[in-house]
Structures are given as structure tokens and as C-alpha cells.
């Protein structure tokens, strides 16, 4: 049985102010859409009535909203405004049926119901009820660089991997969400925290622990079950603890490794949100 594996005294107290070196593998992106946009001949969405769309909204609330948000602007799952326009009706249908990335396949509602959901999501349009980012993306990039965000985050191939990569963050998160997240990172689930990670109790939860022989560590929880706990430090090192050797385990759900950026001016914040919103894919 593992007992405090690879735990050296020098690493015990982990400084959470960003240190930046990382050996972490960038998170894999989901598979490409199975049906490219364009091939829409004879899509059942064309024949949906207003009643079907209303039913789609109900189905969305009951089946999808817990991850994608009641207004479909994204929570654990991505923002879905514009998803039908990007992936195509068949493409979205395929994602619902087959799952994608952290999303499980939905097999418990029949095809007609899935089309009603697709039809409803299509009506949300590109931006729907969300406010659009109002800032200047180019100036926002300067804010990003000046604040050292790349120490922890990767865009394209550049940056650290303490936090989630942001290459396509504008696709998966609405400006409103990004704005709130920058002000209070501990309050919201991290942008790339997906369902399997939730099921494995991972994500970016901070945990403070004290061993029975008096050592302390705070780190990002990678894995936890009834018997063991694995933390990662900001240097990307992993530590697995036998829980019977720990005195206390204190999750800190309201905290994040990422600091709040409430100190930014309103203009800088708007510009940063506009820059992040402009990130739509590989660069």
C-alpha cells in the first residue's frame, strides 16, 4: 500500500502564488463533429412546430440545463448558443446521441424528442439572450500578457498548465460567465471541468491536509476515493496519500489557485473578457 508516495519535505508547503513550471499534459479536446455543417437536407428541424420548440425547451430544462445552464450559456458544459449553427443540426443530434468529451450519450429520449431539443437550441441563435463582449479584444490581449495569465494558462501552444487551457474558451463560455469567473474564481466550476472529472471528484478543488506526523500540504485535488487522496502542486508534481496516515483533510471549495482580478479597472476587465471571448479554437 502506498504511504505518502514521493513526498519530500521541500515540497510539503506549496506556495499557491503562481510558479508556473508545469509538466502537465494539455487537456485533450473533444473529437471533431461527426457531421460537418452544411449537409442539412431534410433535417427534421425544418418541420418542427412552435409546440415542438416549446417541448424542446422543457426537455432541455430537464435533461441538459444541469450542465449547460438554464439559459444554455454554459456551466459545467459549454455555452450552446450558436452550437447548431457551428456543428449543424445533424452534428448536434449526433453529439446528443453519442456524447462528446465529458458529455455522456443521451439514450433515454427518442429521436423525435432529440430533434425538438436541437430545434430549441437552434432558436437561441449565435448569442441569444447573452450580452456580447463589449470590450476591445486586442487591448484585452495586453491585459492578459501584463497580468501573467500565461504563467498558468495555455492559449494555442504557449503558456503554462496549472489551470485550464483557454485556446477555445470563447466557444465554451459566455462573456457573462467569464466576467463573473475573473472576479471570483472560487465561486464557479472551472471552465474545463467536465462530467468524468466530477464523477471522479477532481476538477480544481483545493485541499489542505495535515499528516499524522505533522506535515502540511495544500494542492489541487486530482483524485480522491475512500482510501487515498492525490494532490497536484503548482509545479505539476503529484502526491498520493494513504488516508489512514492523514490527520485532517480540508477541502476549500470557495478558494481557487487563481487569484481574483477584481483589482482590474472595469475597462481592462471588459477588454480581457472580449479577448477571451474571441478565442475560438486552435491557433
Amino acid at each position: 500500500m502506498i504511504s505518502i508516495r514521493s513526498l519530500c519535505a521541500a515540497s510539503l508547503v506549496v506556495l499557491l502564488s503562481a510558479l508556473g513550471v508545469s509538466a502537465l499534459r494539455a487537456r485533450a479536446q473533444g473529437p471533431p463533429p461527426q457531421n460537418p455543417p452544411g449537409a442539412e437536407q431534410g433535417s427534421p428541424v425544418d418541420n418542427l412546430t412552435p409546440d415542438d420548440i416549446a417541448m424542446g425547451k422543457l426537455l432541455f430544462a430537464a435533461n441538459c440545463a444541469s450542465c449547460h445552464g438554464v439559459d444554455a450559456t454554459g456551466q459545467l458544459g459549454p455555452n450552446l448558443h450558436g452550437v447548431v449553427q457551428r456543428l449543424g443540426e445533424q452534428g448536434v443530434f449526433a453529439v446528443v446521441r453519442n456524447g462528446r468529451g465529458g458529455m455522456p450519450p443521451v439514450s433515454s429520449i427518442n429521436d423525435a424528442r432529440v430533434w425538438q431539443v436541437v430545434g430549441y437550441v437552434k432558436t437561441l441563435g449565435e448569442s441569444g439572450s447573452m450580452e456580447k463582449a463589449t470590450g476591445d479584444p486586442e487591448k484585452g490581449k495586453d491585459v492578459y500578457d501584463a497580468n501573467g495569465c500565461a504563467t498558468c494558462h495555455t492559449i494555442g501552444t504557449v503558456g503554462g498548465a496549472v489551470g485550464p487551457q483557454l485556446t477555445a474558451i470563447g466557444r465554451s463560455r459566455a462573456p457573462k460567465y467569464l466576467h463573473e469567473f475573473l472576479l471570483d474564481p472560487g465561486k464557479n466550476p472551472p471552465p474545463d471541468m467536465s462530467l468524468p472529472e466530477r464523477a471522479g471528484n477532481t476538477g480544481y478543488l483545493l485541499v489542505h491536509l495535515v499528516t499524522k506526523d505533522g506535515h502540511e500540504m495544500t494542492g489541487i485535488r486530482v483524485n480522491e476515493d475512500t482510501f487515498e487522496l492525490t494532490l497536484r502542486d503548482v509545479g505539476g508534481h503529484f502526491y498520493t496519500f494513504d488516508k489512514t496516515k492523514l490527520k485532517t483533510i480540508e477541502p476549500e471549495p470557495g478558494k481557487s489557485v487563481m487569484p481574483s482580478y477584481s483589482n482590474l479597472s472595469a475597462t481592462d476587465l471588459d477588454n480581457l473578457v472580449a479577448y477571451l471571448s474571441s478565442l475560438k479554437g486552435a491557433q
Binding site: L58, A62, S66, I109, N110, R113
Partner: protein, 539 residues
């Protein structure tokens, strides 16, 4: 002659081949006499999931290791509880396949794949199968598309195939059937699809239907119809989707029933909605209802009463009583008299925020509707849609007098939807009619193995796990309790104290009920994780 000599010589070189034994009703009834076998879904007719085997003990369990593993041929997640007869194991695989395995070595002996239409998607449940039944020379499986199929135990050859229900009406079956004296009893699932619940009994010889008892009225003159406003029984519900229990002396079958339909919006079906979310006791020969006990009248949170009822005899207030106990999905533990359904005791076994308690007759004293009823914006209530317990089995040890349950403490925001309902085609979080819910996340949900004094529900000890475990519980004569956490750590606890004694990470969640058996004097423990069945023994 030469061939015969060769054959005999060859025989001497092999292990003694496992033999396909006849499983008479007498053997099933007296299963405690042969603890080396696991002859029914829950180990015995009383559904105690107790193994009398004593080789593995708190003292030596640390030496438990994997003896063999079997991986599903078709993929998917294995939820089957194996049957073991004289060294042969019978397991089902998703959606409704059956495999016979040499229980010592893990080598498959035959494999049966029923003709289930590939494009069939059941509403409100996952296409899986939780086990088979055996009687005489046959193995019985109920398929996802509603057939009851009898197979030759030696070869897996079909002996008869009877249609139980029409899948187009929303019916689907995942449960193990129950074999009694010459009869096969089986229920149906599909309460989220507007299916009308019933229990059927077939002749084990030829598959002829002997009786069928509906759990929800089918006309205004049927019993219980006055508990459904405006003929709302027509939407159905009250399915019988998990395996029940049997008392051979009383000749009564006990089966739990599911939710009324549509579920999360009860406005159109005012009244208690009999006989949904109830325990029903039926005469095994006629199917006639002897008594019922409704746990959750006018249910609106998907708290089916489908959990296997455990039968036990014990002294209560100085009198010997024939009891039926159930840890119900509504988070209460119930003790009933199984001769007449009389309520004896009931207490919460998992966190609940919907009732002040139970009255003298066991009826819940519910909190005001505004606090607990599903709403358009979502109402936070413990337990969650998946309940204080779901389909996985608890167990009972006659040695400790304790009832062991994997209890879930979690909440859901219950959402009220439209009342529209059409058979086989419904709305909701997992397909169900009338709404749905958003459940607490894994960090907000915990599961614990709780040991309750079986006659009162008083908690003796608990073993708290991380995450949302969906594993049944087994207790053995050796004094061990087996179950698993959400990550797939299969573990053994001391049955008296709850002390953890051994665990092994199996690499995927364990979504099935553990069993124990013995072959050639060696005790085995079996359970599945992900798509694999693991069998453990001492070296």
C-alpha cells in the same frame, strides 16, 4: 473400446468437469443447506443476501486476491448478480445475454444472445440485465424487449420463449425473474413511459401465463380506482421493475411497486394513487392481492418502492413476528408484519427533508407542499431522484441481527413539468413524465454502509465512503460485509463493527450486488466492476 479407454484416460488428466445439476424447488426453498451455491437473485427466497460460508474471516480477509476475471463479450456495464449452481455460474450481460461460466476457472461454457432489436431504446432506464433465475434443468432470463426465455441449463438452447408485454407501450425489463414451485414470477419496468405495472406468473414447464396482477387500476371499478382523481389511473405507473421475495410457508410473493405517472407533476392525479410506491403481497397460486402497504402516497419524487424486501423472523416486543423489512427509496426504513402488512416500525436511514416522520400506521407526515413538491424553478429536497437507495440490494445477517444498506445522502432540485403523457414516449430528465430534477454533484452526495438493528432501524454503525456508490451489500457467515465505493474500491468490513479490513481498486465503478459461493471447498466472492466480473479467493 479403445476410444472408451482413451476417454477415461483423458478424464484422469483434467480437473473434474463441473456438472450441470438439477435445481429442484426443494433445493431453492432450503438454500441455506447448501451455502456453497447461490441459487436465487438475492441468495434465498427471503432476499437476505447472506452467505453462510465461513472460510474468509476478519482474520484472513487481508489475503484475498483475484482468482479470475471475466470480461463482457458485448461491452457495457455489468449489473448482473450471478447465480452459482454446483460449480457453474450463470450471469447475464447487457442488454439481455446469458453466459454460463466454470465458477472455478472463469472459462465460459456457453453464451446465449436473444434476438433483441438493435434499435430498441427503452424509456427511463438503461438497457441492462441484473440476473437470471434457475429451476430444475432450465435458466430463465427476462429480456429488455419483454420476453421471458427459458434456456437449457446444460447448453443455453432455447426451450421456450413467452412474450410478457409490448415494448411499444413503454415496457422494458432489466430484473432477474423469481423461480418458485413450478412457476416463474417476473415484473416489468417502464413507469417513466406510462407503462401500467403488473406482475406475471408463468408455468416453468412451457411458458404459459398462469396469472397476471395489475398494480394500478385499469377501469373505474378496479380496486384503488377511487384513489386516482378523474380516472387518472389511465396514465399508468406502479411498475414492478426489481426482483421480489417469497415466503413458501405463507405462499406469498412480496414485490415493490414504482412511481405513479406522470411522476413529478401530481396535479392531475390527486389521491393516494394505489397501488404505486407500495409493497404488495400476492398469493403465489392465484396472484390475488393478500395485502398492500403504501410507503409514499401520491408520490411526486420518483421514490419507487422497488428495493428488494428482506424477510426475517424475529422477536418484537416479546413476541415472535414474521417480518418484512425494506430500506425504501424515500429514505425511510420500514418494518412490517409480512402476514398482514401491519406497520411495526419506521425511521429514516438516509438524510431526508420531506417528512416529519411516520404516523402510527406508517403513513408519512409530509411537510407542507410548498417546501417539498416539485416546482417550475426547482425545489431542493433530500433524498434525490435516485433515492436513499436505488436498485442495489441491502442484506441481513441472522448471526448479527443487523440489516446492512448502502445509503445515499444526496438532494435534488425537483422540477415540475407538463402533465402530458403518452405511452412509450415521455418527457423528463431520464425520460419520465411530468418534469425531472437536477441532482447534487458527487461532492455533495455521500454514500455510507449503514448497519441497522433489523427490528427497529436503529443505527449500529456506519462506514462513510467518498462519492456516490451504486453497489449492493453482501454479508457472510464469516462475519464480513462486502461492498464498494464510487471509485471501484471493492472492500470488506467487519460485520460487527464496520471496521475496514481489506480493499482492492478494480478500476471502474462497481454497479452490481456481490455474491459468495464455494467450489471444491474454496470460498469465492464475486462482483463486477465496469465491464468485468471479478472473483476473489484466498490463495
Amino acid at each position: 473400446m479403445r476410444f472408451a479407454r482413451c476417454f477415461v484416460a483423458l478424464m484422469a488428466l483434467c480437473y473434474a468437469a463441473p456438472s450441470f445439476g438439477q435445481v429442484s424447488y426443494e433445493r431453492l426453498k432450503d438454500s441455506a443447506k447448501e451455502p456453497q451455491n447461490w441459487l436465487t437473485y438475492s441468495g434465498n427466497y427471503a432476499s437476505q443476501r447472506f452467505s453462510g460460508l465461513k472460510q474468509i474471516t476478519p482474520e484472513n480477509v487481508a489475503g484475498l486476491r483475484v482468482a479470475w476475471a471475466y470480461q463482457l463479450r458485448g461491452g457495457g456495464v455489468m449489473e448482473s448478480s450471478p447465480i452459482i449452481v454446483d460449480g457453474i455460474m450463470y450471469v447475464s450481460e447487457p442488454p439481455s445475454n446469458v453466459t454460463a461460466i466454470d465458477a472455478r476457472t472463469g472459462k465460459p461454457l456457453w453464451h446465449y444472445v436473444p434476438p433483441v432489436p438493435r434499435d430498441f431504446i427503452p424509456v427511463g432506464l438503461f438497457p441492462t440485465n441484473r440476473g437470471v433465475a434457475v429451476l430444475d434443468d432450465k435458466v430463465f432470463v427476462a429480456t429488455i424487449d419483454d420476453h421471458l426465455i427459458a434456456l437449457d441449463a446444460k447448453s443455453g438452447t432455447v426451450r421456450w420463449n413467452s412474450l410478457i408485454a409490448d415494448k411499444a407501450e413503454g415496457y422494458a425489463i432489466t430484473q432477474a425473474p423469481l423461480a418458485i414451485n413450478g412457476k416463474i414470477v417476473v415484473g416489468v419496468g417502464g413507469g417513466e413511459a406510462g407503462a401500467h405495472g403488473f406482475l406475471s406468473c408463468f408455468d416453468a414447464k412451457d411458458g404459459k401465463l398462469l396469472w397476471r396482477t395489475y398494480t394500478v387500476p385499469r377501469s373505474d371499478s378496479d380496486p384503488g380506482a377511487d384513489t386516482w382523481a378523474e380516472g387518472s389511473w389511465s396514465n399508468g405507473g406502479g411498475t414492478t421493475w426489481n426482483t421480489g421475495s417469497y415466503d413458501p410457508e405463507l405462499n406469498l410473493i412480496y414485490w415493490g411497486t414504482g412511481n405513479p405517472a406522470p411522476d413529478w407533476n401530481g396535479e392531475g392525479r390527486m389521491g393516494d394513487n394505489l397501488f404505486t410506491c407500495s409493497m404488495i403481497a400476492l398469493d403465489a397460486d392465484t396472484g390475488k392481492m393478500k395485502w398492500y402497504f403504501q410507503f409514499t402516497p401520491h408520490e411526486t419524487h420518483d421514490w419507487d418502492a422497488a428495493e428488494p424486501p428482506i424477510l426475517l423472523d424475529a422477536t418484537v416486543n416479546g413476541k415472535p413476528r414474521k417480518l418484512l423489512v425494506q430500506a425504501n427509496r424515500n429514505a425511510f426504513y420500514y418494518v412490517l408484519d409480512r402476514t398482514n402488512g401491519e406497520f411495526i416500525a419506521g425511521v429514516p436511514f438516509a438524510k431526508q427533508t420531506w417528512a416529519k416522520g411516520l404516523d402510527a400506521k406508517g403513513r408519512p407526515i409530509a411537510l407542507p407542499a410548498a417546501q417539498i413538491e416539485p416546482s417550475v424553478e426547482g425545489t431542493l429536497v433530500y433524498p434525490s431522484l435516485t433515492g436513499g437507495i436505488n436498485w442495489t440490494s441491502p442484506c441481513y445477517s441472522p448471526l448479527t441481527g443487523l440489516f446492512y444498506v448502502n445509503a445515499r445522502d444526496g438532494f435534488a432540485y425537483y422540477i415540475k413539468g407538463e402533465r402530458k403523457m403518452a405511452p412509450g414516449n415521455s418527457v423528463g430528465i431520464i425520460g419520465g413524465g411530468g418534469g425531472g430534477g437536477r441532482m447534487s454533484g458527487p461532492d455533495e452526495t455521500t454514500t455510507s454502509i449503514r448497519a441497522l438493528v433489523a427490528t427497529t432501524g436503529e443505527k449500529k454503525w456506519e462506514y462513510k465512503m467518498i462519492g456516490d456508490s451504486w453497489t449492493g451489500v453482501l454479508v457472510t457467515g464469516g462475519g464480513l460485509v462486502f461492498s464498494a465505493d464510487a471509485a471501484g474500491n471493492f472492500f470488506a468490513l467487519n460485520a460487527n463493527t464496520g471496521e475496514p479490513l481489506w480493499h482492492l481498486l478494480l478500476g471502474a465503478a462497481v454497479r452490481s450486488n456481490p455474491v459468495s459461493y464455494a467450489v471444491d471447498g474454496k470460498q469465492y466472492i464475486a462482483d463486477s466492476a465496469g465491464n468485468s466480473l471479478f472473483v476473489f479467493s484466498l490463495p
